[in-house]
């Protein structure tokens, strides 16, 4: 177990974070929201400073004149009324600004590229729909989108409520069992944008990240084409042995690898797991070492997750890790 942790830490130390900040926006909805956030924060800061100055003056001003209280009370009443009026005007302005920003981040047109994201405890199942000639495909914990295009996300849940949040691209939207929610996702420039589940969903809510990879349309098409294909037979002998071990062990009962007999649906589709940036919903960068650490002891790295520890010999572990890495 200690070895597994050590392996994992060395795997993640190289870093694969991507952007995950509302203040570092790279998509139209997030950019609109950043403008609104900065505007409202600026106005509120000014208000706070003004109120604090009023407080300071009220507390520390010089000796009070005893005379003419009636006049000073009337003056105070005028000031209070003016301050309340100013409050009304400011919040009316903020409400209107908020309303217009809401319109700008609305749901995209129906002809946009549609991706279905299904939240699961504690990973993201992603479906790309097929068209007439091209089949659809399934992936996990990673979404690729073409830049400069509106993408329509359909959000569903297989179990409890989750929330899809990639702050550098858009605000969050819940994945609610029994419902289908929609949101607009859009990236203006290529990059990896990290997000993570924002609605408390149980034991491993903390380790439920998703990567959005935005790339030029041509790159996106290449990626989609390769994802549509089945897994190929690995050339490397270790990996080929790993394929055999994978199919012989309980792994195949929960995972699908298209092109093999593995067709379990409980866990993520692994057909192209080697092409993904991370494993276990953003837990670690995809390397042979991190794959081995994860397979050897998933419960230490992500306590409570639904992947059991499958007893393997060290050779089997090595081979299966090599096989996973080869599934580009």
């Amino acid at each position: 177990m200690r070895v597994a942790s050590a392996l994992l830490i060395s795997a993640v130390a190289s870093g694969c974070s991507g952007n995950q900040s509302a203040l570092d926006p790279h998509g139209a909805p997030a950019i609109h929201m950043e403008h609104l956030i900065i505007g409202i924060v600026a106005i509120c800061t000014v208000i706070w400073v003004v109120v604090m100055v009023m407080l300071g003056v009220a507390l520390l001003r010089g000796p009070r004149a005893a005379a003419d209280t009636a006049k000073s009370e009337a003056w105070l009443a005028m000031t209070v009324v003016a301050a309340v009026a100013a409050t009304v005007i400011i919040i009316a302005g903020l409400t209107i600004a908020s309303f217009y920003t809401t319109r700008d981040i609305g749901v995209p047109k129906s002809d946009a590229l549609t991706i279905t994201v299904r939240g699961q405890q504690w990973w993201w199942q992603v479906f790309y729909a097929g068209a007439d000639a091209t089949p659809g495909f399934q992936t996990a914990n990673e979404i690729h989108i073409p830049i400069g295009t509106d993408v329509h996300l359909r959000l569903e849940s297989a179990d409890v409520i989750h929330s899809f949040w990639v702050p550098s691209l858009a605000g969050k939207q819940d994945l609610v069992p029994g419902r289908s929610n929609s949101m607009l996702l859009r990236a203006e420039k290529p990059g990896v944008y990290r997000g993570q589940c924002a609605e408390f969903c149980g034991l491993q809510h903390s380790h439920m990240a998703i990567m959005v990879v935005a790339e030029a349309p041509a790159d996106y098409d290449r990626w989609a084409a390769s994802q549509r294909g089945d897994a190929t037979m690995p050339a490397d002998p270790d990996a080929a042995a790993g394929r055999g071990a994978f199919l012989a062990k309980p792994c195949a009962a929960c995972h699908t690898i298209r092109g093999t007999a593995a067709n379990g649906t409980t866990g993520p589709d692994l057909t192209h797991i080697g092409s993904r940036l991370t494993i276990a919903a953003g837990l670690a960068e995809t390397t042979r070492g991190s794959l081995a650490a994860w397979i050897a002891d998933p419960q230490t790295l992500k306590p409570g997750n639904n992947m059991p520890m499958v007893p393997l010999t060290s050779a089997e572990l090595q081979n299966i890790s090599a096989y996973m890495e080869s599934l580009k």
């Binding site: 993640v12 409400t95 809401t102 939207q173 149980g202």
Partner: protein, 636 residues
């Protein structure tokens, strides 16, 4: 009038010493354990309530420290996810249901009867019952937590995570049933406060002479009465789903997941004002006393309290902006959520005007009020921010919101409460708290609080979600989290000093006079601490500033009997005396009723038959409680 009711049983016939003696013999709680368990004196129950709530505050604070220890560094292995989820759930549940609401009601249980000039709270036995129910609910939660079966579903207990399919065991049931305990006790106190304020005010205390703290507790009590049924329906439905498979929240069987959220937040948002409005009353009271003048704009302040109370029921959807409701409908709730800034702003401006026109005296209670102004305005403004739908979709369920509501609840309610403890401690105990220590307490808590919670705004904007037991080292959050955890120790030190000061002062503080601050409300017209009967002769009120207008002693109303517990019932608007009403004597039955109810409620999370069999001991206890005493109810 009966023949027995001759003048020698009325208070008119006695000199002061003899009157005190006779009233004391009628109203005193007998010494010993039995007396303590049977007492219905609102001051004894109020003190007990306040002390218990502060014990829960300390326990909840310890949980917060454990969380900060775990989050001080990334991927820490100090606390696992299962325990951490219990910790943050119990922290939130404890602070909301076992500390914040009860402590505010407890302050009212102690203070309202004194401030309106009556001898005991209305329905004193119900008051005793409500305390025992509250204590039982608190013990249920904490014993479960110690036994590692504490709820782990968040204080909001969203379905389906809290439902039968995803929350195995009894953890979620313990949460839901603990809600029932605290709701029963909160509703009971709310009814007592409403009746005490409406029907037991001293003669002459017309509606426009009610102290602002009493007004705030009146509005709060109505909020409790209107909001709590929603959560009782929700928690009971959850138990039904879990125990007898009603599927109310199960989408696969036609139930609805969002129904839970609507019910929960229809209660949950007014809950914030149930905590905040009493604090507003405390601030008004302290401001008036320490600026040596009445609060500016009494009528405006009362209207703001009522407006806040009404608006509080129209904003719950802003907790659900990312749940997928129609955007246009959400915009309505943006407007209503922002609108509540108007009455809040009005109150701030009125306090500022009061400070401007008055002569500030910088004693510890007033320092806490200044701290309140500084921090609550931050919390109010971030509240305006999260009211905006687009803003909220970025910060919802992040540390920004954690920062926001701690600014509102700690800055907006706990600071005034601590000020109120320093302010009313002499009345509660007859001893003063230390002014020197008080300044240190204020400084540490104020600095520690802001250093701990302000950086959380930034963490949230930089992408850190709430309710995570850890975060990965590659995320740029480690430094701020370590800073926050270190700052939390300053905050904890401040509270530690506060508790030390309370215990030390209660034992050996300087003796307090009846009115050490020169305040103008009625509780200061009697000794510190007050005698069991509160006032030997009931005061008659001629103005809002009951005490300051009287250069000599208050005029008094007489005619109450001294051979049994009796208080004066007055009219709602003008507080014109209407009748003499007997007030219930000490009784052990509220305790038995609470024990029977407790057994029934806990048993009923295991089998629905508990409701049937448990009703028998409850009925027996109630029969004992209401057994006729042969005393006429009231005499006009």
């Amino acid at each position: 009038m009966t023949g027995r009711d001759s003048t020698d049983s009325r208070d008119t016939g006695f000199n002061d010493g003899e009157l005190d003696h006779r009233l004391a013999s009628v109203w005193s709680t007998p010494p010993g354990l039995w007396g303590a368990l049977s007492s219905v004196d609102h001051k004894i129950i109020g003190r007990r309530y306040i002390s218990t709530a502060f014990v829960f505050l300390a326990l909840g604070g310890l949980l917060a420290l454990l969380m900060r220890l775990q989050l001080a560094q990334p991927e820490a292995r100090f606390i696992g996810p299962d325990r951490y989820n219990q910790i943050f759930t119990v922290h939130g549940t404890n602070m909301m249901f076992l500390f914040a609401v009860p402590v505010m009601q407890a302050m009212a249980v102690y203070l309202v009867p004194l401030m309106v000039g009556t001898r005991n709270i209305a329905f004193p036995r119900l008051n005793a019952f409500s305390y025992w129910m509250y204590l039982a609910g608190g013990l249920l939660l904490w014993i479960a937590f110690v036994l590692d079966t504490g709820p782990d579903i968040g204080w909001f207990a969203y379905v389906p995570l809290s439902g039968p399919q995803y929350a195995a065991g009894k953890r979620a049931d313990i949460w839901a049933q603990m809600i029932t305990f605290t709701e029963v006790s909160a509703l009971a106190v709310a009814v007592e406060i409403v009746v005490t304020v409406f029907k037991q005010r001293a003669p002459g205390m017309s509606l426009d002479r009610i102290p602002l703290f009493v007004w705030s507790m009146l509005v709060t009590s109505f909020l409790v009465i209107l909001a709590m049924p929603a959560i009782m329906i929700a928690s009971t439905s959850l138990i039904l789903d879990r125990l007898v498979e009603t599927h109310l929240f199960n989408p696969a069987e036609g139930g609805d997941v969002l129904l839970w959220q609507h019910l929960f937040w229809f209660f949950g948002h007014p809950e914030v004002y149930i905590i905040f409005l009493p604090a507003v009353g405390m601030v008004s009271t302290i401001v008036a006393t320490f600026t040596r003048r009445p609060v500016f704009g009494y009528l405006a302040m009362v209207m703001a309290l009522i407006a806040t109370g009404v608006l509080a029921f129209g904003l719950w959807v802003h907790h659900m902006f990312v749940a997928g409701l129609p955007r246009l409908g959400e915009s309505f709730f943006t407007a209503s959520s922002m609108a509540i800034a108007v009455p809040a702003g009005l109150q701030i401006f009125c306090w500022l005007a009061t400070m401007w026109a008055g002569k500030p005296i910088f004693k510890t209670p007033f320092l806490f009020v200044i701290g309140f102004m500084v921090t609550f305005v931050v919390g109010g403004l971030t509240g305006v921010m999260v009211a905006s739908v687009p803003f909220d979709t970025q910060v919802h369920d992040t540390y920004f919101v954690v920062a926001h509501f701690h600014y509102v609840l700690v800055g907006g309610a706990v600071f005034p409460l601590l000020g109120a403890i320093y302010y009313w401690f002499p009345k509660l105990t007859g001893r003063m708290m230390s002014e020197t220590v008080g300044r240190w307490v204020f400084g540490l808590i104020f600095a520690g609080f802001n250093l701990t919670f302000f950086p959380m705004h930034i963490l949230g904007l930089r992408g850190m979600p709430r309710r995570v037991y850890t975060y990965q080292p590659e995320m740029p959050w480690s430094a701020l989290n370590l800073f926050i955890s270190l700052s939390a120790s300053i905050l904890a030190l401040g509270f530690l000093l506060f508790f030390i000061d309370v215990i030390r002062s209660a034992r050996s503080g300087a003796a307090a006079s009846s009115n050490p601050w020169g305040a103008s409300t009625l509780e200061w017209a009697t000794s510190s601490p007050p005698p069991p009967y509160n006032f030997a002769r009931l005061p008659v009120i001629g103005s809002l500033e009951a005490l300051s207008d009287q250069s000599t002693a208050l005029p008094v109303a007489t005619g109450l009997r001294v051979d049994r517990r009796e208080l004066l019932v007055s009219s709602v608007v003008e507080a014109i005396p209407e009748a003499r009403e007997s007030s219930a004597g000490d009784s052990i039955w509220p305790l038995w009723a609470a024990l029977a109810t407790t057994a029934t409620l806990i048993w009923s999370i295991f089998t629905p038959w508990a409701v049937v069999w448990g009703s028998i001991p409850v009925a027996i206890a109630l029969i004992g409680w209401f057994w006729p005493k042969g005393v006429p109810e009231d005499e006009s």
